[in-house]
């Protein structure tokens, strides 16, 4: 992009570095803006104000605190699995970032099956969650982990099916291709703002948001962690930096799924009227703005709603979301053929 030809290993190093900085950064930004500040203001309070201007460094201070904590293993835990679980969750979050385009040429790996890859690695985290719950040797953790497994299976389907509508309309599985399809497309003969699928695939967008809320275990669907029932579920026994891993993975994957939603439905890095090299520089900012919008929705729901019960959630997924998403696919297919 800068006219440099780099060796493969150099490129790989840069990409790894980029991903490694984007995830903690994204997690920190989301954590600060939404968890600390937006939630506080929604609750008529200010939130942390002392660490740094307006409390901006609070999460760094928290991370410092977590790193100092003793690394506790429960007496009857399966030590290897217990230690590995947060890493598995973290890695699945890292992998999500590989396929999200931040500009016409700013992408770690432009896979032809980008969406497929993202959704597949996104559901890897449930393995880590199950490992954590089982290895903790705690009943609360076990309940939480099994809930998480049931929930993620139930909600993976509507998530994928909601995306299928977009894929059918765009005609490609590559995320970059989907952005281009939205940028070059036109709605009913009007191409001024491209064709952001949030309008033409509105049902799909709603389904995706609901399903990703469940995928992220955010509040209307946060039974796996359910603080008032299971005392943080599969994370109950974790302390120190392992807990920090879970925490970062939670916000990192919230960031990643917001990015995927922004890419699939809001046009990703594309801003009407910005083309060429400029798009490469502005792209990350535009994408960031759209991510913040989607994340705002996710966290707004989180801080407003009570949670469902596990069986109600399953009913909701299998009886309403999946039929609706199937109908959405059929409708998209018919419309695609007609127009």
């Amino acid at each position: 992009m800068l006219g440099l030809e780099l060796a493969y290993w150099q490129q790989a190093l840069i990409k790894v570095g980029a991903v490694m900085t984007v995830i903690p950064l994204g997690a920190l930004i989301l954590g600060y803006v939404f968890l600390l500040k937006m939630m506080s203001h929604m609750q008529s309070r200010l939130g942390p104000m002392e660490a740094g201007p307006h409390g901006t460094l609070q999460l760094l201070a928290d991370a410092g605190k977590f790193l100092q904590k003793e690394d506790i293993f429960p007496a009857r835990s399966d030590r290897t699995v217990f230690a590995l679980a947060p890493v598995v969750v973290m890695v699945s979050t890292f992998l999500l970032y590989l396929v999200i385009p931040a500009g016409p040429r700013l992408i770690v790996e432009d896979l032809d099956t980008g969406v497929f890859f993202a959704l597949a690695v996104g559901s890897l985290s449930v393995i880590g969650v199950l490992m954590a719950g089982w290895a903790s040797a705690s009943k609360y953790s076990l309940l939480g982990a099994l809930r998480a497994a049931g929930q993620l299976i139930a909600y993976e389907l509507p998530l994928v099916l909601a995306v299928v509508g977009v894929v059918v309309q765009a005609g490609t599985l590559s995320l970059q291709g989907i952005v281009h399809a939205q940028a070059d497309g036109e709605m009913f003969g009007f191409g001024g703002i491209g064709n952001p699928y949030v309008i033409t695939q509105f049902v799909g967008f709603l389904l995706f948001m609901v399903a990703s809320q469940a995928e992220l275990t955010q509040t209307p669907f946060d039974m796996p962690v359910a603080e008032s029932e299971l005392v943080a579920g599969y994370m109950t026994e974790y302390t120190g930096f392992r807990f920090l891993f879970f925490f970062m993975a939670e916000f990192g994957s919230a960031f990643a799924l917001s990015a995927i939603a922004a890419t699939l439905f809001l046009g990703g890095w594309y801003l009407p009227g910005v083309n060429g090299d400029l798009a490469d520089y502005l792209g990350p900012l535009v994408l960031g703005g759209k991510i913040m919008f989607v994340a705002f929705l996710i966290f707004w729901f989180r801080f407003t709603y009570p949670r469902f019960r596990e069986d109600q959630l399953q009913t909701f997924a299998w009886k309403y979301l999946i039929p609706l998403s199937l109908m959405n696919i059929v409708a998209t297919g018919i419309l695609k053929v007609v127009f």
């Binding site: 009943k139 509040t219 209307p220 603080e227 008032s228 709603y305 009570p306 019960r309 596990e310 069986d311």
Partner: protein
């Protein structure tokens, strides 16, 4: 079968499911159900209540509350304290509505001594009684949200409860433990400007109720979580000795404020006793929400007509209660609270039995929790609304 009372269809179904789960666990798979200790340190138990449940998957097969982790020996303690000292102790029984704990005890002592507090003191007592009801129930209205996973309502509850506590503090000197009641009257009169301030706060309380209605009661998720969960039929409720909003939510129209002839000023006000026919968790929430509104209106009515006069009857400086027995109970925020005071003419009670609402309210748990899911355990615990100090005393 723990009861012979007619149960609702839902309860019967739950009971059968519980029995079936029990059989399945023990015979077919030949495994023991998982027993889970909810508490003594668990966020849903508001303190140190322990509930032992046996689970089949997420379904509760058997449950039993274990209380006493916070037993402070009140009844014994009261035997070695003088009447003014007892007053400071009893308002720590149900710490969310301290003033309401003082009133029945003081009434019992007054009854034994044959003194009657002046009219002005009775009105102010009633105002503070209803204020402690608001302070207590607003917290419930928010806390129920937290138990169901909604983080925000409890902050609104604390925000608006703060004004009520400030009012209590500016008049009595204590936010949580007013110690304002005296045998024969009150400690001191209201400070200037208090009445006007109180009217403003009551408006805020009503706004808070509207907000809760929008945020929780109207919310479809909240309704799916609470409707039909933990149904208590009127007969069962009565047989377990439930009282207060838990009883009224089962459709039993029973309120000591109206039904009992009390020296307090409720008889001078118009208020409605809210009941709900369903008897489920939603009904319990809804009834308490209406009760907060009703309390605000009672206070508004009383504020306009506080009679002038002294606040203290003529009582000796050292209070000695003649021998005798007295039973006094009032409709406290959590339910019926009463003191049975036996005096032998000493400086303090010879024996004092404290009847608290929460202890009876949670006695229904083994019956109520059978066959429900783990999240419903939390819903039911939250909606029964107990204060640990009120259970263990």
């Amino acid at each position: 079968m723990t009861t012979t009372a007619p149960a609702s269809e839902w309860q019967q179904a739950a009971y059968i499911a519980g029995q079936a789960a029990d059989g399945r666990v023990n015979i077919e798979i030949e495994t023991e159900g998982m027993s889970l200790n909810i508490g003594p340190q668990h966020p849903a138990t508001h303190g140190t209540l322990r509930i032992v449940v046996r689970l089949d998957g997420e379904q509760v097969v058997w449950a039993e509350p274990v209380c006493g982790y916070m037993h402070r020996g009140y009844e014994k303690l009261l035997e070695v304290r003088t009447y003014p000292q007892v007053n400071t102790l009893v308002n720590r029984i149900d710490w969310m509505s301290s003033f309401a704990n003082e009133v029945p005890f003081i009434l019992a002592a007054e009854q034994l001594m044959g003194v009657e507090a002046p009219e002005r003191a009775q009105w102010i007592r009633t105002i503070f009684f209803e204020m402690s009801r608001i302070a207590n129930l607003t917290l419930f209205l928010g806390d129920m949200g937290v138990q169901l996973g909604a983080l925000t309502p409890v902050f609104y509850a604390f925000r608006d409860r703060e004004h009520v506590l400030n009012l209590i503090e500016s008049a009595t000197g204590g936010r949580f433990h007013p110690n304002y009641d005296r045998v024969g009257g009150l400690k001191e009169d209201l400070p200037k400007g208090w009445v006007d301030e109180c009217k403003g706060v009551m408006r805020r309380v009503r706004d808070f109720c509207d907000q809760m209605e929008d945020l929780l009661v109207g919310n479809e998720i909240f309704q799916t979580r609470t409707r039909g969960i933990g149904v208590i039929t009127p007969a069962v409720a009565l047989s377990y000795g439930l009282s207060g909003a838990n009883l009224r939510a089962s459709g039993v129209d029973w309120d000591l404020r109206r039904d009992e002839d009390s020296p307090l000023a409720w008889k001078h006000t118009e208020f409605k006793v809210w009941t709900h026919p369903d008897g489920d968790s939603f009904a319990r929430y809804w009834v308490r929400l209406q009760e907060v509104r009703e309390s605000a209106s009672i206070i508004d009515q009383l504020l306009d007509g506080i009679p002038a006069g002294p606040i203290m009857a003529k009582v000796p400086r050292i209070i000695k209660v003649p021998a005798g027995e007295a039973w006094c109970h009032t409709e406290n925020p959590l339910g019926e609270m009463g003191y049975y005071v036996i005096s032998q003419g000493g400086l303090g009670p010879f024996r004092c039995k404290v009847r608290t609402a929460s202890f009876n309210n949670i006695s229904i748990l083994p019956w109520l929790l059978r066959g429900v899911y783990v999240p419903d355990v939390i819903t039911i615990l939250a909606s029964l609304y107990f204060i640990l100090g009120d259970i263990d005393r």
